[in-house]
Amino acid sequence: MTARTREPAEARPVYRIERLTKTYGGFTALHKVNLTLRKGEFGAVIGSSGCGKSTLLKIMAGLLPPSSGRVVLEDKPVLGPRRDIGMMFQQATLLPWKTTLGNVLLPIEMRDGKAAARAAEGRAEELLELVGIGRAKHVFPGELSGGMAQRAAICRMLISDPAVLLLDEPFSALDELTRDFMNMELQRICLEREATSFLVTHSIPEAVILADRIFIMEANPGRVAEIIEIDLPRPRNLDMINTAKFGEIVHHIREKLGKEAFGA
């Protein structure tokens, strides 16, 4: 597999979120959110705490029913958890009584049974090698570091070969160095698999270094306020962080968000 060159404009839209509204009791968490992801695109959503990012992601994943509006993936409406959607959360939440390998195989085991899981062991091992923790496959999560645990969680997400990856602050519990490293890993994986990805994050540099487009969300009620195209070349690396262009983009977004978060 070779790294693709970016061509989002030409790619067809695979993920469509249309007039999505979500209310919790009387509180409107999301209000008529519209959003489209193109095939192979990396989207990132950024916004202050409580603006509805996780809610949006959960509805996109079919984990939460919307109050109104709809989500369509590959022309089929999302009405529940789907095999072609992979999810990852801030916590690795590996089951402590299963080995790393067992944890990675969990989605297969749940959907297709133990036999299928056993058959998929080879693939799981490949994935673990891919993220660099092949050696830890028979180890229990209690003995993994935070970074290793998140790598295992990545493998667990990838084992079902999803077309779309939804990532809710996947590395924000890790320290900064590990996080930078993991972000580059994530980029590599997304490029290799040509996966359509959607990342929720609090970190502006993280969003900028990873995304093709950044959706800035505002709160009360949650909605997409601005969409920013990031035209840094692919594959990206951490050195780009120190370029002037990068600094400008970050500065622009910070201004935008700062205004929102701490009043006019």
């Binding site: 089951l95 402590p96 209690g142 290793m148």
Partner: protein
């Protein structure tokens, strides 16, 4: 001014070396080695017991002396070792206890899942369980005998009845132990409700379940002995009752002490199984879900 006084202080103060005098000390009571503490406590208990009997504060037909009790313990031990009737009684009681424990585990677990997993169980079944549990269960002994006869079955039923409730409560509590994160994970990988229950909630709730088992281990002992007290049969409870009716208090006490070893063994067995089985509960490093 400050500079000055600091300099003065420094001049008077000796340079501190590595041998810092940390005030951190465990209080005396915590530094006693375990065997000393346990032996000490044992001696204290027996000492008070001896004093109470020696000073004739309590008559000998109510509280035997430690020596009488000890020699009866030896006698009972001899009888058991030589396969006498007391061994038979102990075997009967042990059988009752183990059967009841197994049953209580099964029933308590099932009801606990019903209560913890369904709203129906939580809202409609639980109040009845509490009401039933506060009833004096002794009054149900005739009912169990009517259905199950005078063999160990009726004692098993009574012991099970007593031991089930704590398991229900703790199993139900355990089902709430899985975090929102873990539930979301299972939902996202397409796990069914049953799969989520069996593969996530139950394993996560195991430590709670074991807490319930510890309380139940004690309850099942009480239940078996009470059953044997009330409904005849051949167990240690019946022996205690006979000895009590003969005012043979040393025998009563020595049998009670043997029973408490049985109870302790059951309790420790639960602790051991928990340690072996719930191996992941020892460490809670970042990777672990619990």
């Amino acid at each position: 001014m400050i500079e000055q006084s600091v300099t003065a202080a420094r001049a008077q103060m000796p340079e501190y070396e590595g041998d810092t005098v940390w005030s951190e000390h465990e209080p005396l009571i915590d530094r006693i080695p375990r065997w000393v503490a346990m032996t000490g406590l044992f001696i204290a208990i027996v000492g008070i017991w001896y004093a109470v009997t020696a000073l004739e504060i309590v008559s000998n037909i109510i509280l035997p002396t430690p020596m009488e009790t000890w020699s009866d313990i030896v006698f009972v031990g001899g009888n058991m070792v030589s396969g006498g009737y007391m061994l038979e009684a102990l075997v009967t009681t042990t059988k009752t206890v183990l059967l009841a424990f197994g049953l209580a585990m099964a029933i308590g677990f099932s009801l606990g899942v019903l209560v913890g997993e369904t709203k129906f169980g939580e809202r409609a079944v639980m109040p009845y369980l509490v009401a039933i549990d506060t009833m004096p269960k002794v009054a149900f002994a005739p009912l169990f005998i009517a259905w199950l006869g005078f063999g160990i079955a009726s004692k098993v039923a009574l012991a099970t009845f007593i031991a089930t409730f704590p398991i229900v409560v703790s199993t139900a509590a355990g089902l709430y132990a899985a975090s929102e994160n873990e539930r979301m994970l299972f939902k996202s990988i397409g796990a069914s409700r049953m799969q989520t229950l069996v593969r996530l909630k139950l394993p996560t709730g195991l430590p709670y379940f074991f807490t319930g088992l510890k309380i139940a281990a004690v309850g099942v002992m009480a239940g078996a002995i009470t059953g044997e007290f009330l409904g005849g049969g051949q167990g240690v409870g019946a022996l205690i009752r006979v000895s009590a009716s003969q005012l043979d208090t040393p025998r009563v006490f020595s049998l009670i002490i043997y029973l408490s070893f049985l109870g302790l063994a059951l309790f420790l067995a639960v602790v051991w199984v928990q340690k072996t089985f719930v191996f992941w509960n020892k460490s809670d490093k970042p990777g672990g879900a619990a």
